[in-house]
């Protein structure tokens, strides 16, 4: 039975000041996150509205027209798709080194969110590709790397779903997450190499496309808004997972007491 599931783990209401370490206690984590969530959600909505407003006001690209606005969804979701694997890797270290159940929860709940952002990145990239490249999918280096990242996310989710015991699944997923983190740069490099071998990089100029400040500001706002969205979703998902595990533990205890 994992520690996080037991409602008895709730600490007494001591009056000492809070520190970062207190977040490691699931009950304290809940008591801090619960009041924080509405504020985070509100900030996300406000910033997203501001960002979208800026996006609508931003000038169209002289070549791509209005389709360039897809970038404001595409680029932040790509960043978050990668950031999320980084967060999962840190959580994986927490699982393997400190065996901390909250790290398990963080890793487990981050995977579907990361997969969702990666999928948004793929879909928006595909929709952007249709008007600019004339096709929904090209085996462009970046698209291909993101697709493989998406497959790795699906692998982690499949791993979590295969095993019923959460702490056993957590350790296996942590090993795989770290191996994936080690391999992702290699995959990225290989795909870039493969792509330049097969087709010259004609779409993206070397050194990246230079971007006008009028396009950059909305992008930065959208990136911050997406990051806030991620934090909100992740904390809410962690809360739900903790409650779900407590429910599971209560059910197990009930079943056990019914036996006697």
């Amino acid at each position: 039975m994992d520690k996080i599931g037991s409602p008895q783990a709730a600490p007494g209401t001591s009056k000492r000041p809070l520190s970062v370490g207190d977040l490691a206690n699931p009950s304290r984590f809940l008591s801090i996150v619960e009041p924080l969530l509405p504020w985070l959600a509100g900030a996300t909505v406000l910033l997203m509205a501001l960002g979208l407003n800026q996006v609508l006001a931003a000038p169209d690209d002289y070549q791509q027209g209005a389709t360039v606005k897809i970038m404001y969804l595409h680029v932040p979701s790509a960043w978050l798709g990668m950031l999320c694997w980084g967060i999962m890797s840190i959580a994986a270290l927490g699982t393997l080194v400190w065996r901390h159940p909250l790290a398990d929860v963080a890793a487990k709940t981050a995977a579907p969110i990361g997969a969702a952002f990666t999928l948004i990145c793929l879909i928006t990239g595909s929709l952007w590709g249709r008007p600019t490249w004339g096709t929904y999918w090209v085996w462009d280096a970046r698209l291909t790397s993101v697709l493989i990242l998406f497959l790795l996310y699906l692998g982690v989710i499949a791993l979590w779903r295969t095993v019923e015991d959460p702490s056993r699944a957590a350790r296996a997923a942590a090993v795989f997450t770290l191996v994936g983190a080690l391999n992702l740069p290699i995959i990225k490099f290989s795909v870039d190499w493969w792509n330049t071998l097969h087709q010259p990089a004609s779409i993206f100029r070397a050194g990246g496309p230079t971007i006008a400040p009028s396009l950059l500001l909305p992008l930065v706002i959208m990136a911050i808004a997406f990051t806030l969205l991620f934090i909100t979703l992740h904390l809410a998902a962690m809360r739900n997972e903790i409650l779900r595990r407590r429910l599971r533990t209560l059910r197990l205890m009930q079943a056990q007491s019914a036996e006697h």
């Binding site: 493989i148 499949a158 056993r168 350790r171 090993v175």
Partner: protein
């Protein structure tokens, strides 16, 4: 070092004797390569062009699909527990098992590849190059797959879990393996660059695979 060689010999003997299934990978490889012309047509020029890719894909699938039994049989008869409790470092023990698996399952693929190359109308010189790239690249597949096999055993799940987890990680090996093979055939590109990277990938996997598999076993209980 005696424990290492003893474990290696034990696994090799188990693989070649009845019930070991060392030949199954080669048979699977042969069937995959045979199926390809039925799917894309018997045109020899086309087969020759995509031949290296087919051989690499076949070898990739054949070496990964045999991996989920690597630790499963040992867990069933209890020898895995003995390995975990033995005095030798777990990484070394896992390395010995992986090496035995490579010798019993992947090396026959490398030897079979030139024969299968005849079906795909690949020239002898190019075929030698493909066999060399397979020789250099298959250790990466075995030792990466090791991680998946270890996870599958600790989770007591088999089947498709190992390929689903490991196949995305084999993308670099496939890219550089096929690139080196094609470089050997067309001679428009240098053979050395992709081949050296392929060797580097194999060497890295030989280190990372046993380490990660050992972590998976240590944290399993």
């Amino acid at each position: 070092m005696t424990a290492f060689s003893a474990l290696l010999m034990r696994d090799l003997r188990l693989a070649v004797r009845a019930g070991g299934g060392a030949g199954m990978g080669v048979l699977y490889f042969l069937i995959v390569v045979t199926l390809v012309p039925f799917a894309i047509g018997p045109e020899l020029a086309l087969l020759r062009r995509i031949g290296p890719a087919i051989l690499w894909l076949g070898a990739l699938l054949a070496s990964l699909l045999t991996l989920d039994r690597l630790f499963a049989a040992d867990r069933e008869d209890g020898s895995l527990d003995l390995l975990l409790m033995a005095g030798m470092p777990l990484e070394i023990a896992i390395g010995a098992k992986a090496l035995a698996h490579w010798l019993a399952s992947a090396l026959p693929l490398v030897i079979a590849a030139p024969v299968l190359g005849i079906f795909l109308n690949i020239e002898p010189r190019a075929m030698a190059a493909i066999a060399i790239t397979l020789l250099a690249g298959t250790p990466a597949l075995t030792f990466l797959g090791l991680i998946g096999a270890a996870l599958a055993v600790t989770l007591r799940r088999g089947g498709l879990l190992v390929p689903v987890l490991i196949l995305p990680l084999t993308v670099p090996v496939l890219i550089f393996g096929v690139a080196a093979s094609e470089a050997a055939i067309t001679t428009t590109m240098p053979f050395g660059t992709p081949f050296s990277i392929l060797c580097a990938l194999s060497l890295m996997s030989v280190v990372v695979g046993p380490l990660a598999a050992a972590v998976a076993f240590r944290h399993a209980e």
